[in-house]
Symmetry: C2
Subunit: 432 residues, 2 copies
């Protein structure tokens, strides 16, 4: 772990730099696969599933039988857990619904804003060692609350052509309309262009490896929106003397086990705490099954000592952490002044894993400093806001002159004319 | 104008196709200029201003004196109009503020969502023949209501190194913090990387030509967010027999005068209206100062006859117009069922120009079919949503088991451990 004492603000940007990711190499591969998926549909998807996943699929759509079987394959205990998490996530995301905003801006000029669901969305769930059914919850639940009509899910099959039953169970529970055994670039391509089996979608959500990340970025060029740009997961903990050392160490390690490139940062005003956490991390690390991964992230992790809370707050806002845990006697100061963070975890009994799974907040959050300008996934991510306006005869008479003057000043005579014609017609009617 | 009678749904996608834009050619230019702006700052900005705009600037920041002078240069009449428009836009966007959403999802588990302003935003206002001060209103007003700390505006200077006074007056009125005489790719580069004079921003808004559009797309790769992907402006009018022919024609023409590539579509259930509108457009077109431009867009415009309202609604949702005017006896049917549109204008007295300038709604809207998944600019465009959670001892005891089970099932032992440690510590405390 790297210990840094009282870094100057000038050094922060270097100190807090994330590893840069290279995209260029992967781009050509994505473009090739996309163009083949676009022209050959399912055949191309199957070809690349054979090539990358080493399996030959006859059917890429998960069948009703497979879904029914997953119901039985998941333990009752885990089902109960998934259902409790679902209830909390549902409560929190349902509460995010907004009413129509209606304003009569001038007499006779009624304007309103309404959110309507994005009709077709695609969810990507990575495969690999960890079956991320929790991410299914985080994406499918708000999609369903938003009212998206088509909720497509793609996830890579294992060597036996199967999807992990916890993923199938959760997807079915949360109203996913179609589940496909497709992973990687070909999955993003299929949801972008559509194939004989896979419906094209308007927006793609979900995490993935470097290939999926680049594929999502290139999908934008083909008219699809994505949830947010991706980067390695990260955690910043601010802890003062009130923090429990062993809890802090366990939180840093839970971030570290995500991957060797995970970003782990501790900021503190207490040198004593800094040294104690360092020792405790070493101790806890030894017992972890994913020790090999976590160790690499821990080597690059940073323990930063700062003068005071104000300095800490500035540094944290400059970093804009995805996850921000704050354990401080002055927690209100941090809650009030945090400007850039994906999700904030407050106090000794709020570990990041609570938000990852079951507290109710979403775990799909902006990394890589993107918390400065992107929201984490929330109900609105599955909707778009539309405006409406209805102007009465009186209304156009009230604002008509204003529009005419502004349109003329911008040199747009036809814009002016659309109003002039209406005003004249009303004048004539009144004169009659 | 192209008249199409009762097209089959299979033909819609071809019929409603927008012109594709070529990006590849411009990309290399953008990359070159970006890398020079990044390394050489103001010097590079000035070099390209000389090269593209043909003027040599000593100072790119607009001075207080220039702003004060603009106050005098704008007529009182136009100032009154701008202020009325501002009042309406402020009313509508202020009403979009959302309260903190707070939910106790499980006893002792408090989650909340709050929106906080994006600290630094950049607004781009194109130059050219039309000084788009209305776009300054549409971007600076919500930025200011959101509470953005730094609101930077870039707009190209004219041949006398000046900015149009209406733009300066409006920018100053709406709380823009710094105005720069920079246009094109170099402006987007300056706001992306920052220079000695221009602060780097987190999100860039505003319209522009093909170069600006591509520059904004490439800015994303450098960590900046943008308002939305751009495309030529478009209007779709649905009109039945209740519509005023001359109003409809004037609306189609107000769209057509934007540019030769403007998309203009009429959908109707009345063949009689279709033919009358065609004649009226030809008549009104002759009198327009921007006739040469409007004529080109009108040649490519489409007048589509459909069987009934249901068919019309399906076709309109498939097209996803930026601007959608509906003049129909059954307007409620369309209001209720429109899923994909940027902004909706209802009835004979609601021309698109009302929303372009003064009704209160925003005129920065998704084009090119992007209304399927993107919102128009609104208050939330200048904020990001963050979540918070605070869990009590009781709370972690209530959801701890669930988190442990889920983390274990995903193979993330350290995630589980962060909870286990806390549960054990509470158990020990209780046992004492």
């Amino acid at each position: 772990m790297k210990k840094i004492y009282n870094p100057t603000p000038e050094s922060w940007s270097e100190l807090l730099k994330r590893p840069t990711q290279t995209i260029a190499d992967v781009e050509a591969t994505v473009n090739d696969i996309f163009s083949e998926v676009k022209s050959k549909g399912d055949a191309a998807v199957k070809k690349y599933t054979q090539l990358f996943d080493g399996i030959s699929l006859v059917e890429i759509l998960v069948s009703k039988e497979e879904i029914a079987a997953s119901e039985k394959a998941v333990s009752e205990e885990l089902k109960t857990a998934i259902n409790l998490a679902k209830a909390n996530i549902e409560k929190f995301h349902s509460a995010q619904k907004t009413e129509r905003v209606m304003v009569e801006t001038t007499e006779g000029v009624n304007c309103w804003q309404e959110k309507r669901p994005i009709q077709k969305v695609g969810l990507y769930i990575p495969g690999g060692s960890a079956p991320l059914f929790s991410t299914v919850l985080m994406l499918a639940i708000p999609a369903n609350i938003a009212g998206c009509k088509e909720i497509v899910l793609c996830t890579p099959p294992d060597k036996k052509s199967k999807i992990n039953p916890a993923i199938l169970y959760t997807a079915n529970l949360c109203g996913v309309t179609k589940i496909f055994k497709i992973g990687g670039i070909q999955a993003i391509g299929a949801m972008t262009f559509g194939t004989e089996s896979v419906p094209p979608v308007y927006k793609i959500f979900g995490p993935g490896n470097q290939f999926v990340t680049v594929a999502k970025q290139i999908a934008i060029k083909h008219g699809v929106a994505i949830d947010m740009p991706a980067g390695p997961s990260e955690l910043l903990v601010f802890a003062d003397y009130t923090a429990n050392i062993s809890f802090v160490a366990s939180d840093l390690l839970s971030q570290a086990e995500h991957g060797a490139d995970s970003q782990v940062v501790l900021v503190t005003t207490s040198k004593k705490l800094l040294n104690s956490v360092e020792k405790e991390v070493e101790k806890q690390l030894k017992k972890l099954p994913r020790k090999a991964i976590a160790e690499k992230a821990i080597v690059n992790s940073k323990l930063i000592l700062v003068k005071n809370n104000t300095e800490a707050m500035k540094l944290i806002n400059a970093y804009a952490p995805e996850h921000f845990i704050v354990i401080s006697k002055e927690e209100d100061f941090f809650i009030e002044n945090i400007q850039n963070a994906g999700s904030v975890f407050i106090g000794n009994y709020t570990p990041e894993s609570a938000g990852d799974y079951a507290s109710g907040t979403n775990h799909t959050l902006p990394t890589n400093g993107y918390a400065k300008q992107y929201s984490g996934v929330n109900l609105d991510s599955f909707m778009k806001s539309m405006t409406f306006q209805k102007i009465s005869e009186k209304g156009i008479q009230n604002i008509g002159k204003t529009i005419e003057l502004m349109a003329e000043a911008e040199g747009l005579q036809a814009h002016k004319n659309a109003v002039t014609l209406r005003l004249k017609s009303l004048k004539n009617n009144n004169d009659e």
